[in-house]
Symmetry: C2
Subunit: 418 residues, 2 copies
């Protein structure tokens, strides 16, 4: 393929179409405050996939799904036996999420496929769009579930038995979705891929603050998730002396407060979040018998991640008072280093297209982390307003999204002709 052919595909990326696809997709799970609530395997999620399949089947692209419900859309290449170049992200959102986190990577991938068809260009390798199942991990934990099971870093059987708060298992929810959404094929894990490139909004403030349009992602910081269960004893709030109490919430509060102080990082690189806390029985005049909280701890340095993270359990034990405490590490994910060739290719594309770009570390985990051990992988970031994400106010501009899709098109088409 000549440089002029690549330029033709990049020229066929349409900002208006890409933007309209985002607005159409945001209708599935739309919230009154302008956000999206489209958790994995909900009816809204199934509607979003049906909509996507409507667009891609019009183009004649074929669809496939695997045992964990990842969705693949293929545009064929000249060499039917060649491993595809894969690009995509996820259509699920946080319960109070926005229009762009995940959806952008899927719709930018769709835009690349449509631009290729509009430009009438055949690549050597097939190109596939992927929608990974349950990246967000809100309804079902952990995050990046579909890509992790695909990469065999999470066992399928365990994941299928995972239930949401209402007791609905992934297995049951998948069976329901399969009744609504038919794909042309089913596919096993271990399907070979030539390369994986994922486009995403930055979900942080750096690109906007520095005036860059393209983030060339070199690394994803490492992450450890913990669940801390504190068990005390229910008692009457009016009659039970402090000395006789086993107050699970009071103990949890001390643990969280101490952990915040311990994890304080002057350089503000370390990320420490207690995002979920459930109390039982959770009534004003009963001493809480149980408190369960989660810890999300991230750092780009594997050493810090290991050493600081290994202190969490001892801190919880030291502040449990008369309660029992159980600390479980639910997910461990080492820092990821992306493929140097993909990093170069994305940098070259931004330079060709005269887009201001910078190399950066991803603060968020993405499905690309699961793919990096399987094939040469990389990511492209575009700015989002104020760095706000996982929020109904999440916002990005049509021009930035189109710029990201054009860089993605150049990188993916180049890879598909190697």
């Amino acid at each position: 393929m000549t440089d002029s052919e690549v330029a033709k595909v990049v020229g066929a990326v349409r900002e208006d179409r890409l933007w309209q696809r985002h607005m159409d997709m945001a209708a599935f799970g739309a919230t009154p405050r302008g956000g999206v609530n489209r958790e994995a395997l909900t009816p809204e999620f199934a509607q979003a996939r049906q909509c996507l399949l409507g667009w891609t089947s019009e183009r004649g692209f074929t669809s496939a799904t695997d045992p964990i419900g990842n969705l693949f859309i293929r545009r064929p290449g000249a060499d039917g036996a060649a491993a595809p170049v894969v690009t995509g992200s996820h259509l699920d959102t946080q319960p109070a999420g926005g229009k762009f986190d995940g959806a952008f990577g899927v719709l930018a991938a769709l835009e690349v496929l449509e631009a290729l068809s509009d430009a009438g260009i055949e690549t050597k390798r097939p190109i596939e769009l992927v929608d990974w199942m349950n990246e967000e991990g809100g309804r079902f934990q952990p995050t990046t579930m579909g890509s992790s099971v695909f990469a065999e870093t999470l066992p399928l059987a365990t994941v299928l038995a995972t239930a949401d708060r209402e007791g609905v298992t992934i297995e049951a929810a998948l069976a329901e979705m399969r009744g609504q959404i038919k794909t042309d094929e089913t596919r096993e894990f271990g399907f070979p891929m030539a390369a994986y490139v994922e486009a995403h909004i930055e979900q942080g403030p750096v690109l906007e603050a520095t005036g860059n349009t393209i983030g060339i992602v070199t690394d994803i910081q490492g992450l450890r998730w913990f669940q801390v269960e504190v068990m005390g004893e229910e008692a009457h709030a009016g009659t039970t002396p402090r000395a006789n109490r086993k107050d699970a919430l009071a103990a949890a509060v001390e643990m969280i407060e101490t952990l915040h102080r311990f994890m304080y990082d002057e350089s503000d690189i370390l990320r420490f979040t207690v995002g979920r806390l459930d109390v039982s029985p959770n009534t004003p005049n009963t001493v809480p018998a149980r408190a369960l909280f989660t810890i999300d701890f991230r750092h780009p340095d594997a050493g810090v991640l290991r050493e600081a993270g290994d202190h969490i359990e001892e801190i919880c034990d030291a502040h449990s008072g008369d309660c029992d405490v159980e600390v479980t590490e639910t997910i461990t994910s080492a820092p990821t280093i992306f493929d140097p060739a993909i990093i170069s290719l994305i940098g070259d594309a931004a330079r060709h297209q005269k887009l201001p770009a910078m190399e950066m570390i991803s603060g968020a985990t993405h499905d690309a982390k699961s793919l990096a051990p399987l094939c040469p992988s990389g990511m492209i970031f575009v700015p989002c307003a104020g760095g706000i994400s996982h929020n109904e106010a999440e916002s990005a501009t049509p021009a930035d999204l189109a710029a990201g899709a054009k860089v993605l098109a150049e990188a993916v088409v180049s890879l598909a002709n190697r």
Copy 2:
């Protein structure tokens, strides 16, 4: 009425019947761990009232209800125009409550009415059993709702509009209950009462520890309830630097930790409880945008209650960081001093019946607090195992319950003949 007639009524109190009534009543909302979940105005609550009305209508007693759903059962007296002596408690429980909290006061009252009928004795005044609506305040806040509205310390219109977590209002729940439970009459608030005596398990460890069977309650400690709402901003846990966060849960944890230290009382008389904490959106990888917690603060000394309680808002403000905080006092209840004549009468009854008894302060709030300003009022406590209450393991002995019912019978019958 002669002393021998009083002795006849006391002798007609049946331990076996009283115990069986407790076991029968515990079937409504029975939990697998041997407790009871029978929150106000639920189907289980309506079934419990239907069961009670079945027993009382067999005896020919008449029933009445008022606009907030309190239930009254009358055994007539010789003087039809005389104000009744009222005794009772509540049939609602905590979501993970026991068989005796509330139920004992209602069933001891029933036992008094039945003993009178079995002994064939007519009192001068009518005696009424009352089941106050929503004493516990778990499903609908605040506590002692029915007796407070009856005493006009809570406005009816506000209370009717109060909703549970699913958005069901008291008004709607009451309408549904009225469809299931028919009473002979309806009654307005301000109905005159000659006296009010309530029997209850102690819900604390003192009677058991001191070997006393009867607690002669002299006071109820005062109580202040607060609701603290902390408003921050949702953000991505992986990408948002600490400096850019408005973490509502981190701020709430600092507030609660500081409040615990501020409220620390070496003498262990002060009661301070954060029993409920709700986090939103409550997912592991989103910085919490909102945290709402409750404070239950009690002390027998009105001065301590005022001064320490008045610091709560400033402590929350001082630890709100970049979040906004709103502190609302939802209920204020001054310490209650019971009527000296009723206190003497209960002490006399225990002495006549040779039951070991002691005067004590109630740590818990009870409906008797609402009645104390309306008519001479008092309370009788019996032991519960380990002082454990608001717990499925709540336990009391048949003999202690019967002893409480006999003291109640003597006090109530004496009052009904004055």
